[in-house]
């Protein structure tokens, strides 16, 4: 049985292929089109998934879309009717897109995929729930999904057992934790649906002095974790902005202009909304734990990418284990929709656990060599041990390395297949990599990769964290890795075990052998505004455009110093819209 899951038309379009119960391929459309958060129909991703599975469209038993467009349109109509005439402009802007595109999902799938078989539609939050629980290591677990909005639901809670999902509680639009966080993202001058993680990164620089104000004026939180927002302060349900003048008056400053200076006020606002988010997520999870008496939790939805909140849930509730899959946002909906049909609808037993995120395209040495030859770039293959020892030596000598190895990651994090690596011990590397390589804001923290077996020596953390979705405190006696230690002493942790990515594990191990340190900086292989690199061409271009010193691609190591100035200058012409 071959099932293709599809998510698109809002943000992060993606496709995922499940063959006989196993996830064999998953990728976001942005990686192919090079448009960040590309929401268009994932024709490239779907085509690639089919080719990876060796399938033609006619070999698919089902295609499953990750939400129900008619129910979503119903919500939009009802919301605009309820807020008429305030939402007139926004409605007229939304209407053509709906009428020409978003209502025609079934027809788009048939046309784009040249497919005549069965097409199914799963609820948005059911797709999220399935994306976490059905690929988790748990036979039974509580499930909490939180995002901006699906059809009507903005958060759902329930539990999963075997192949069954029982989602029995929900919070409905316009009351939304995801949209609350996005409203603050907008207020702080960052791009909505794109730069929420910047607010999370900015928060530790501030004091949460507006926390009480948020919880008193904006949010009405009840003991059972449900909440209502005071909609007088928000405009997202009818307007083209997220917040109104009343919101700005409440905090005392206007909306920050994008790219303008970040003041202590903005940092304090970020700290306050992060603390409020932690409080709400913990309250929801605590109630769910008491209601279900379960020890395991599966989290999904865009808010589950907030690793600070995820860690608070682990610290402050009775859940003992939490599973968050690496594409917890809408891209992961494609995976969830496919597994929902595979396991819950068709009653096939679960036979897959997501143990790593390496589900995307890969390129052989022959393909890479052919590409480099076509580009006129001299290269020679190194044996595995030489490649590892050379790369580790370069990182130890304070070089910044682009690392392109094996199958690309699914989800927003680079986890050792498409990564930029640097020495975590060098305090300068945070600003060097931020400003010269990534061309992004200097406050942005970097994440560490640590050998799984040495995690607890460096961090107050004992469990695996393979998807970089939890934060842990760097131990006081190990503050020798300043480039990955945030101002509050925390780090967004990735643990690596050998069976997840043997080559990447062996590289960190080799770095440990050479330096004694089992931790390196791992940040995504891209520059600001650019999707993570997918192909050797993307990797070469990013390498040439940025201050990366060496590109380690397959069995080859390229040195920037060997590249002609003309080639470097030509690559620099490619720019990306800032995120």
């Amino acid at each position: 049985m071959n099932i293709l899951g599809i998510s698109c038309y809002y943000h992060d379009a993606a496709a995922a292929l499940v063959m006989d119960g196993r996830l064999v391929a998953a990728a976001q459309e942005e990686r192919f089109t090079r448009r960040r958060h590309d929401a268009d129909f994932p024709r490239h991703a779907a085509e690639w998934c089919l080719s990876e599975g060796g399938l033609q469209p006619g070999d698919l038993s089902h295609i499953v879309f990750y939400d129900k467009p008619f129910v979503k349109f119903e919500r939009i109509l009802q919301t605009y009717l309820a807020t008429f005439p305030m939402g007139y402009r926004s409605f007229m802007k939304a209407l053509p897109v709906w009428m020409k595109e978003k209502m025609w999902i079934r027809q788009a799938i048939m046309q784009e995929m040249a497919y005549e078989g069965e097409i199914l539609f799963a609820d948005h939050h059911t797709s999220h729930a399935a994306s976490a629980f059905l690929v988790s290591p748990f036979d039974e677990a509580a499930i909490l999904t939180i995002d901006g909005v699906g059809e009507w639901e903005t958060a759902t809670a329930g539990y999963g057992r075997g192949t069954d999902l029982q989602i029995d509680q929900a919070i409905w639009f316009p009351h939304s934790l995801g949209l609350l966080y996005s409203a603050f993202t907008y207020y702080l001058g960052f791009k909505v649906n794109s730069a929420e993680y910047k607010v999370m990164g900015l928060a530790p620089y501030g004091e949460p002095r507006f926390y009480d104000l948020i919880m008193k004026e904006l949010v009405s939180l009840r003991d059972d974790g449900s909440f209502k927002l005071n909609m007088r302060y928000f405009t997202y349900h009818y307007g083209l902005t997220m917040t109104g003048r009343r919101f700005a008056r409440l905090f005392g400053e206007p909306v920050r202009s994008p790219e303008s200076a970040l003041t202590q006020f903005h940092k304090d606002v970020a700290a306050s909304i992060q603390k409020a988010t932690d409080t709400i997520v913990v309250a929801m999870a605590r109630h769910l734990q008491r209601r279900t008496a379960m020890r395991n939790l599966c989290l999904a939805g865009g808010v589950a990418l907030n690793c600070v909140s995820n860690s608070k849930v682990l610290e402050e509730t009775d859940f003992q284990k939490i599973f968050v899959q690496p594409a917890a946002g809408d891209a992961g909906g494609a995976v969830g929709a496919a597994f929902y049909v595979q396991n819950t609808v068709l009653r096939n037993p679960r036979s897959y656990q997501m143990q790593n995120a390496f589900l995307g395209p890969s390129f052989s040495d022959d393909e890479i060599s052919a590409f480099l030859t076509a580009q006129g770039i001299a290269h020679r293959p190194l044996d595995r041990q030489t490649l590892l020892s050379e790369t580790a030596r370069l990182v130890g000598e304070q070089k910044v390395v682009g690392w392109f190895q094996g199958r690309m990651e699914f989800g927003p994090r680079a986890l050792g297949a498409r990564s930029i690596l640097a020495d975590a011990r060098n305090p300068k590397n945070q600003s060097v990599v931020n400003l010269k390589i990534k061309f992004r804001e200097s406050f942005r923290p970097f994440a560490p990769t640590v050998l799984e077996e040495r995690t607890s020596e460096y961090f107050d953390w004992k469990d695996p964290s393979p998807f970089m979705l939890f934060v842990a405190t760097v131990r006081e006696d190990k503050r020798e890795i300043p480039a990955v230690t945030h101002v509050d002493g925390s780090a967004r942790l990735q643990t690596i075990a050998r069976d997840q990515h043997p080559l990447y594990y062996d590289l960190v191990k080799e770095f440990e052998r050479q330096t004694g340190c089992p931790v390196i900086i791992n940040t995504s292989f891209n520059q600001r505004g650019e999707p993570i690199v997918c192909t050797p061409a993307d990797a070469l271009n990013c390498f040439l455009r940025t201050g990366i010193d060496h590109l380690v691609i397959g069995s080859f190591i390229l040195n920037k110093a060997d590249m002609s100035p003309e080639r470097v200058a030509e690559a620099a012409n490619r720019t990306f819209e800032p995120d």
Binding site: V71, L81, M103
Partner: protein, 59 residues
């Protein structure tokens, strides 16, 4: 101009709409929904035809 198969595929949205209404039972929304559905159908079926500029000016 769309061919017969494409037209048939497009018109199948009416059946989808009927299934949706039967499930959701929000009959009070049906007239509004139906108007948008018909307009939508008109837009999609006239794409590339001489009628298109007149339809698009509605929005």
């Amino acid at each position: 101009m769309p061919n017969l198969k494409q037209i048939k595929r497009r018109v199948s949205i009416v059946a989808e709409f009927w299934d949706f209404m039967k499930t959701r039972k929000k009959w009070w929304l049906a007239p509004l929904f139906f108007i948008f559905l018909l307009l939508s159908l008109l837009i999609v079926l006239t794409q590339g035809s001489a009628l298109a500029p007149f339809i698009y000016t509605l929005f």
